[in-house]
């Protein structure tokens, strides 16, 4: 059974039909990359999967459980996590405090109202492990808005990982990064354990082909093509869509 199954999802904003009958599947451990020109509806697919936006029709299942009508937080407890295309952090809090919030989300004491949060030893430990693993430990006392853009993008991923997801959705993890940061982030993504399946939106073709083992091409809100990287790479029509019209210029 696939870990994530999106089945015939459609979504409109007013009269603008953004998604038409989109279906895709993510297998356990898979690195599934979604590509497509600007405005194709990639981020909207993510929002429907996470439940941050309701789909108009179609269904979504996580590991066989139908989550179509479920609120976002219930989907997280089934093992789903996501990052945002536009960096979306707690910018006035420190790196450590950001992690505390992310780690606490899956702790049984998240509803407790007396013992101070900072006294929970397992919270401190989990936070430290994540920060050390992702090279942010030395920055833990800094406010997020003091971090470099690249560091903020990394923190974006670390927050999502804090819930120990089985499926991680990354929305353009390398966008806006310098070539060096992109290379580093790409290798960090490649090193992620296969216990986490990845669904990644990415524009940078070098990044796409260095992580993907399956690719879905989205065009005008429809799945245009999907298959293994070799198949997609060789497809003339994909080149046409991607490089022919409306592709974003890359730095």
């Amino acid at each position: 059974m696939s870990l994530l199954a999106v089945n015939g999802v459609s979504k409109a904003f007013g009269s603008l039909q953004v998604l038409r009958d989109v279906s895709l599947e993510v297998q356990p451990g898979q690195r599934h990359v979604i590509i497509g020109p600007n405005g194709a509806g990639k981020t909207t697919v993510f929002k429907c999967i996470t439940g941050l936006l309701p789909a108009d029709s179609g269904s979504i299942a996580i590991d066989g459980t139908d989550v179509t009508g479920m609120p976002a937080h219930s989907r997280v407890s089934l093992g789903l996590a996501c990052t945002f295309q536009k960096t979306n952090l707690f910018s006035e809090l420190t790196v450590e405090e950001n992690l505390h919030l992310a780690v606490t989300a899956r702790k049984p004491y998240r509803f407790r109202i007396w013992k101070p949060l900072s006294w929970y030893e397992d919270l401190q430990r989990d936070t430290r492990e994540l920060l050390q693993e992702w090279d942010l430990w030395s920055r833990r006392r800094h406010r997020v808005d003091e971090l470099s853009y690249g560091e903020q993008r990394i923190l974006e991923i670390v927050l999502a990982l804090a819930s120990k997801p089985r499926i991680l959705l990354l929305d353009e993890p390398t966008s806006g990064m310098s070539p060096a940061e992109t290379a580093r982030t790409t290798s960090l993504i490649q090193e992620m354990p296969r216990s986490v399946a990845l669904l990644v939106i990415e524009h940078d073709m070098d990044v796409v082909f260095s992580i993907a083992d399956y690719i879905t091409v989205l065009h005008h809100g429809e799945v245009f093509l999907s298959g293994p990287p070799e198949e997609v790479r060789g497809d003339e029509r994909v080149r046409e869509i991607y490089f022919g019209g409306g592709a974003r210029p890359h730095a």
Partner: protein
């Protein structure tokens, strides 16, 4: 409590200072000052409860007096038949909590100015009910409170007795809030204020947290209202009105949004200015208004900000306390690593 914190920073010197203040204040106050201080404690609880949802949850309410008044009327109405003070206080708190839970659940779909208008409308509905139900509530004239506070060691009738009752109630509420804002749920609420979308994506049921904090604030406001009924011996529909809600907002802003003690300080400031300035001028509201404008123009922080600057400059560092932080000086994790080879 302090005993089991060995190795951690001594928490809350503020609590000890406040307790001493409550205990010793009557020794230095002029005779009429005790009554004013008693009122300050009550309004401080009210203002702190509003400060909680405003400064820690980002919910701007212009109808917080609804809960205060509901608590006060509960004591006035129920106090005709029930005399146990604990029971009355509990009922008033419960009624206010229930009203807050219901109205919160209905209103959270709206945000910003719409939420503000809905809270205002809700308090006006309660106001209208108290105003219209004359046979029961005395309508516009209000009604007197026959219940006399008795906490188990005789009726509290003297001024000093009331002072200590309200003083300890204030300390209790402060302690409760201090614990809450540092707790997991309290931190989550603050996180939701900062970035609700991200909190949802992280897996939090943000609605339930917001509802909880709103209910907690409503309950505390109701508790303050109940105390006020005992203090004032009389309740009127004004206790539910938007003027009182607005005054509470002023207290919070003058005192300092985003701090716990700030709103209490703002309440003290407000009540004292109201009492003293009204001695000298009938334009006391104008005086307060001007002070309010100055504080808003000066930016965030309010009185609490000023006080903290002085505090940090005069006290040795180990007694310093960062608002709502009780962290060890060094991360606990590092100590642990050293201990376990």
């Amino acid at each position: 409590m302090i005993g089991r914190l060995s190795g951690r920073r001594v928490p809350w010197p503020g609590v000890a200072v406040l307790t001493l203040l409550v205990l010793l204040l009557p020794l230095v106050l002029p005779p009429f000052g005790v009554g004013i201080a008693t009122e300050v404690f009550i309004m401080a609880i009210f203002a702190m409860s509003l400060g909680l949802i405003l400064g820690y949850a980002g919910l701007v309410s212009l109808g917080h007096a609804a809960f205060f008044g509901a608590g006060a009327y509960t004591v006035a109405l129920l106090g005709q038949y029930v005399f146990n003070t604990y029971l009355l206080l509990l009922s008033a708190t419960a009624v206010a909590a229930l009203l807050a839970a219901i109205s919160g659940a209905l209103f959270f779909r709206s945000t910003g100015a719409y939420f503000l208008m809905l809270t205002l409308a809700f308090s006006q509905v309660l106001f209208a009910v108290a105003f219209q139900a004359e046979p029961i509530t005395g309508g516009d004239d209000g009604m007197s409170v026959v219940a006399v506070p008795d906490l188990g060691f005789g009726e509290i009738v003297g001024e000093l007795g009331l002072y200590y009752m309200m003083g300890f109630a204030f300390l209790g509420c402060y302690l409760l809030l201090r614990l809450f804002v540092a707790s997991p749920a309290g931190k989550v609420v603050k996180g939701i204020m900062e970035n609700e979308l991200r909190m949802r994506a992280l897996g939090y049921n943000t609605f339930s947290y917001k509802l909880f904090v709103y209910t907690l604030a409503g309950a505390m406001a109701g508790f303050a209202g109940a105390l006020y009924a005992y203090f004032n011996f009389y309740v009127t529909p004004d206790l539910l009105g938007w003027v009182l809600s607005g005054q509470a907002l002023i207290m919070v802003i003058i005192g300092g949004v985003g701090t716990l003690l700030g709103p209490a300080l703002g309440a003290a400031f407000f009540i004292v200015v109201q009492n003293y300035a009204s001695f000298y001028t009938e334009y006391w509201a104008l005086v307060l208004g001007l002070i309010f404008i100055i504080f808003v123009l000066l930016g965030r922080g309010g009185l609490m900000h000023l006080l903290r600057a002085v505090w940090n400059r005069t006290l040795p560092s180990r007694f310093r306390e960062r608002e709502d932080e009780m962290e060890p000086e060094e991360p606990a994790a590092e100590h642990q690593k050293e201990r376990t080879p």
